[in-house]
């Protein structure tokens, strides 16, 4: 095998790709060859590094220097300076947002420093399309260990010892779930991977599917071995074409290496795997709806019991886990359940991947031990709030989750603490909101989502979410009454109690938490007809400060409804009756004379 003195890793995850990673890769390839370095320097395409905000990202090893927002024009300099002369390209290094310090090493960047990677251990390090690279990082060691030296019961016991809980939302103990399915009667059993990732604001599953598909496949095989299943399905949403492609490549390689199919590694264990493409319905992420969808029906939830462990896919005992849950399994079997259980808090073991988005400086994926505080995630790793604005809330757990405030910043994140605060771990989406975000609008936004995605099978969810949405729309448009808040609360509790599946049972959470922590904002909309964040267009108006107006007329020229009047001698004035509140005047005014009130 050829030896290389340096490796250049280019992230080709979805984030970096859309920021222009492909031309960077091509330019690097050309430049490295042109300078005759192609025998010494290896160029690798990897999955996501997590710090999407700074993409396209290029990392050069052995130094581990991370270059941010690289363009094709920077390539010649990287090759000349770094690969030829051994000097860092200072201007492309990560710079801390507060004190503008350049950080030469990947490991020292605050975004990565506090991370502890188990599920994402290979993402950004290996070429996901090459099984050899996965094997070189101890891939399929756990499978070999299980098949040759462990009984299915041993594998099950190890997962139970680890304390691993479901990463897809519910947090149900994985070992226990496997045990139910193992003990269920039936000679045909299925394992299923939930890769529907429907929560807006979450993309960790995508990152694993695209960056390390073999970890998921190995995890599923270990699960199948422990449970006694010989067939598996990965249900992946159609919005992730790259993930589907990479899964296909990975599965073909496994088949070629004898890691999928009959008599794996010469043992009695056989396993066949299929990928099913989702067809775009949020509710299909719910496990019973997902199974209905695999069966080719409308993806509507089924009442439980019977539980999938007894009667799941095509009526057979089935075990379903989330992508991140499966991806943790190989490390647990390799390193031992005790090791995994030593990480995290008393009841929440291991790590969790969070998708940090919204009004924060470093958006991206971070994997941290359970028990890390929200402050550490948002401020230390995330680099604080965008444009130096003030933190207001963080929305956690997607449309089923809730909004937490400043007072929760030091809350150690685990399943119990979040539920107690009225939110949920959910899939781990953290959307940061600043003082410009209106919390009533956020509640309305989520209700609009759940109302649209309600499958319509049960009345409380179908009609209840609709009424709640109408009430919220009334409030954000300035027509709310104080009595509406009581109605909202009543409806919320009713929908929560009576809905058939998790969608309806959790849909009121964003409303309930905002009512609990931001009641004053609701009241301001109702009593004062004001939106404190100045976000609800019905409750704001735009005005021109006559003192500051230099009478240039740019606002009037750009106004789409011609409602601004004035001339070279008189300051411009907005006709409030006709104004559509598009905000164009505020954007175009060169003298900051327009303001929102």
């Amino acid at each position: 095998m050829a030896l290389y003195r340096a490796h250049v890793l280019v992230c080709k995850g979805t984030g970096c790709k859309s920021s222009g990673a492909a031309p960077v890769y091509d330019a690097l390839k050309e430049e490295i060859t042109r300078r005759g370095l192609d025998k010494e320097v290896m160029l690798v395409e990897t999955g996501c590094h997590g710090m999407c905000e700074m993409g396209p990202i290029v990392v050069v090893y052995p130094e581990g220097s991370l270059y941010c927002r690289v363009t094709a024009d920077d390539v010649a300099e990287i090759v000349e300076e770094h690969l030829y002369k051994g000097r860092l390209v200072q201007r492309l290094l990560y710079t801390t947002p507060e004190d503008k310090v350049k950080i030469p090493h990947y490991r020292d960047i605050p975004f990565y420093k506090k991370q502890f990677r188990i599920a994402l251990r290979n993402c950004g390090y290996i070429n996901p399309d090459n099984i050899e690279e996965y094997i070189a990082r101890d891939g399929y060691v756990a499978l070999a260990k299980a098949l040759t030296a462990m009984d299915p019961e041993d594998v099950l016991a190890e997962v139970k010892t680890s304390g691993l809980r479901g990463r897809g939302g519910g947090g149900f103990p994985t070992g226990l779930k496997w045990e139910f399915c193992r003990r269920a009667k039936g000679d045909k059993k299925y394992v299923i991977c939930n890769a529907d990732e429907g929560d807006p604001g979450a993309f960790m599953d995508r990152s694993i599917l695209e960056g390390d598909p073999h970890a998921l496949i190995e995890g599923m095989m270990l699960g199948a071995y422990a449970i006694g299943a010989d067939e598996g399905y990965i249900y992946c949403r159609a919005e992730y074409p790259l993930a589907i492609k990479r899964l296909g490549v990975a599965m073909a390689q496994c088949t070629e290496y004898g890691l999928l199919g009959d008599n794996i590694m010469g043992t009695d264990f056989s396993f066949h795997l299929h990928v099913k493409e989702g067809a775009g319905a949020f509710v299909c992420g719910e496990e019973t709806a997902l199974m209905a969808s695999i069966e080719g029906e409308r993806g509507m939830p089924r009442p439980r019991p019977p539980f999938p462990a007894n009667k799941g896919l095509w009526g057979k005992p089935s075990n379903i886990n989330n992508v991140e849950t499966w991806a943790n399994v190989p490390s647990i079997i390799r390193e031992g359940g005790e090791w995994f259980a030593s990480i995290g808090t008393e009841k929440s073991k291991g790590t969790k991947v969070f998708a940090l988005t919204g009004k924060v400086n470093n958006t991206g994926l971070v994997e941290v031990p359970m028990g890390t505080t929200i402050r550490e995630i948002v401020f230390d790793m995330g680099g604080g709030i965008l444009n130096g604005r003030k933190f207001k809330a963080v929305q956690i757990g997607g449309p089923s989750g809730g909004c937490l405030t400043e007072e929760h910043l030091d809350l150690p994140v685990n399943y119990e603490s979040l539920t107690a605060a009225g939110a949920i771990m959910g899939s781990g989406g953290l959307v940061v909101m600043d003082e410009d975000t209106c919390m009533v609008d956020v509640a309305r936004f989520f209700l609009e989502f759940t109302q649209r995605e309600s499958c319509g099978k049960c009345v409380p969810c179908r009609e209840g979410t609709k009424q709640m949405l109408l009430t919220l729309e009334k409030i954000t448009s300035g027509k709310g009454k104080m009595k509406d808040l009581e109605t909202l609360e009543e409806l919320a509790l009713m929908v929560k109690e009576m809905s058939l599946c998790g969608l309806g049972q959790t849909a009121p959470n964003p409303v309930l938490t905002t009512l609990r922590y931001f009641r004053d904002e609701y009241e301001a909309h109702i009593k004062d007809k004001k939106c404190p964040a100045k976000a609800c267009s019905a409750l704001i108006s735009f005005v021109i400060d006559a003192e500051k107006c230099r009478k240039c007329g740019i606002c009037a020229k750009n106004c789409p409804v011609d409602c601004i009047a004035g001339d070279r001698n008189t300051p411009y004035v907005i006709d409030q009756e006709r104004c559509i509140k598009c905000g164009t005047c505020l954007e175009v005014c060169p003298f900051q004379a327009v303001s929102k009130v």
């Binding site: 604001g201 319905a281 509507m300 009004k359």
Partner: protein, 156 residues
């Protein structure tokens, strides 16, 4: 483009063939039909119903349940505007309004020249780059209302 009835029939037979007798094949078959025909046209559904012995009502049931299936012709280019949470707090509504203004269509509509179809979606899984728009298979991130127009001009 008009396709002869017999051609439709032939095409459907071809699509259905590998799935005959297999469980859970309706969704992948519909995905294949939509891929080849662009949308689920009425005659195709009728032929399919006969071929696989599933009532048209049931096929429509599935076809209307999932956002991915379309019963009307769609544009040559599909614009998917993310209306997920991360994009919402970073201003995706302004992008949506701008596109509606440029193309003079509303959500889930197609321009008259069949150039574009506009679809809001819940999340494109590129939240780190919010606000995000996907045109066909290409994802564009960190958009502003001003940067969207030149992007659309690349699609004829």
């Amino acid at each position: 483009m008009t396709i002869q009835a017999s051609e439709v029939e032939e095409k459907i037979r071809e699509i259905v063939k590998p799935w005959k007798g297999k469980q859970g094949s309706l969704i992948p078959i519909l995905q294949a039909i939509q891929h080849d025909f662009g949308y689920l046209q009425e005659d195709a559904i009728e032929i399919l119903s006969r071929e696989i012995g599933i009532p048209t009502a049931e096929i429509y049931g599935v076809g209307t349940f999932y956002a991915q299936f379309h019963l009307k012709p769609r544009g040559r280019h599909i614009i998917r505007i993310c209306r997920g949470t991360a994009c919402h707090v970073r201003g995706s509504l302004k992008i949506l309004e701008k596109v509606m203004d440029i193309l003079k269509i509303s959500e889930n509509e197609t321009t008259e020249d069949l150039r574009f179809t506009l679809e809001p979606v819940a999340c494109l899984g590129a939240c780190g780059l919010a606000p995000v728009v996907m045109v066909n298979d290409v994802t564009y991130g960190r958009l502003t209302p001003d940067s969207i127009q030149p992007i659309l001009e690349n699609y004829k």
